[in-house]
Symmetry: C2
Subunit: 304 residues, 2 copies
């Protein structure tokens, strides 16, 4: 199970009752945060989730509304007596930007490790999760992120019995281990059925629509995408500022055949996103306007 919370939905500047766009992803006792603008630590507390197990923070880019909350978040994690290292991921310049911001957070009781992205697409892992960073199209270098959890095939008891595999090996085979025994080599493929559908979510903000978004979001259970403007006539403005309209986000969701679309990163001028959603759902029916604190549990198909 992956637990997801959209901590905020604002773009450009934090507003009363609308935190800046940020996503928290929890899995197996660990958390990943994507983006950390001014106030993200308060949004997290409001949601009731703890900053203690955040082990990785990924940044889409370094505009202030996506990173200005970092010094405060680091200090709060330090005050909670964190000792484990924290990994930061982001476009080139990460070490420089984090170093500058740490002018006001110089002393921390934990190590910070920076991973700078330089390729158009980069893969890395976090616990059992696979992360994929992919470059998008904003007025500065900016990345989207996909997070996936693969699921191997079902263990076939009958097959194992048929092949005479001793029960003591079953658990290890089920976990994907290759085992050398006195009687020969046992591989998971011998006893596992076809790989089952895993979980996937994709987050991208501050970008024009791109093919890289479609290919990386493809098949996501949840696709969280910026929608800076609800009004269709803001198309030109979206193009100029390298953002998207709700409608453009919906077209991406349809092309990528995702499970659900949540919109976020609203312009401060957009007071209420809901009135635009009927039009959006004509393009992609399973779309909803993200709200601060909106959360969801992504579960395997037959998981309780």
């Amino acid at each position: 199970m992956i637990d997801v919370c959209l901590l905020g939905t604002g773009g450009m500047m934090p507003l009363p009752y609308r935190w800046l766009t940020s996503l928290m992803v929890r899995y197996n006792g660990h958390s990943i945060l994507i983006d950390c603008g001014e106030g993200t630590q308060i949004a997290l507390k409001e949601k009731g989730w703890s900053p203690n197990p955040i082990d990785m923070i990924c940044f889409t880019h370094y505009h202030a509304d996506h990173i200005s909350g970092l010094p405060g978040m680091l200090l709060t994690m330090g005050n909670a007596e964190r000792k484990d290292p924290l990994t930061l991921v982001g476009p080139r310049g990460l070490t420089r930007v984090v170093g500058a911001l740490r002018t006001i957070a110089p002393e921390l009781p934990f190590e910070i490790r920076c991973r700078e992205l330089s390729e158009a697409e980069e893969s890395f892992s976090f616990e059992e999760l696979d992360l994929q960073a992919f470059r998008v199209n904003h007025n500065v270098v900016c990345y989207g992120y996909s997070i996936s959890l693969d699921r191997i095939g079902k263990f076939q008891v009958e097959k194992a019995k048929e092949l005479g595999i001793e029960m003591k090996y079953w658990n290890r085979l089920q976990k994907g281990e290759r085992i050398e025994t006195e009687k020969g080599i046992l591989t998971p493929e011998m006893v596992l059925g076809p790989a089952r559908k895993g979980l996937k979510l994709t987050y991208c903000t501050d970008t024009r629509p791109t093919e890289s978004i479609v290919s990386n979001a493809a098949g996501s259970d949840l696709f969280i995408c910026e929608g800076m403007y609800g009004e269709a006539d803001k198309q030109e403005k979206a193009r100029e500022h390298k953002h998207m309209t709700f409608q453009e986000a919906a077209v991406l969701a349809r092309k990528a055949q995702v499970g659900q679309l949540w919109l976020t990163h609203y312009s401060p001028s957009l007071t209420r996103p809901e009135p635009f959603m009927d039009e959006v759902r004509k393009i992609f029916p399973r779309a909803c306007a993200g709200k601060d604190g909106k959360s969801m549990e992504l579960r395997f198909d037959d998981e309780e």
Copy 2:
């Protein structure tokens, strides 16, 4: 009239429903902000006051909870198309710290002027206001600020007539101007009564009690002072972290013979300050526990 709003009352970290300590002072269409932690721009919007006329931001010191909101505040002022220069005031290192934070707010449509404080006490002015910065006692260099508005004596019509001063000079004399006429020199002293009581407020946070606070806060109409801990038994902790208890702040208020005391900069562990106030008022009766958004108009005695 001086308009004062305590935008937040928290210390260390912003909390849901408690912004970080910051004070906004409005006078004659201009504003001074003292301290700007994470979320201060949201607190300001919640109060309904505009960031547009902020012409000066004073910093007590550079711990993150007093300055981390600066990049976002600057960008928001820029988005509001500010063109006038902004003056920043703070202890030595201001230019370096602001420069580092501007890594994420590099482009602004207005000029930033930094005034670094280096003396134990420094005076400067802003419009008709006199500001006094005074060094206090924290674990880094930290300043308190007093803001005063003097008031000259009342114009004495009878005296002016007696001296045969032409009416065309009255207004200029009333404003304190010295005038050379064909018949001789006219001075304000000739027609003004004794100076009347002006307005004064003092703000200090992140410090142990000091004599400099007493002398600089002396006679303030409003004294806004940190009270990190309400419990009298946190005295030792206050000393160790270079903060104050409510009781210590009240003693300062009594010594400085101020009009009112507002407490602020509460520890995150202090959920409700009110239960401690009865004890505090035994030391200084006109004390109250500051609340986010608490505001007041300071007026001259006979001002409508």
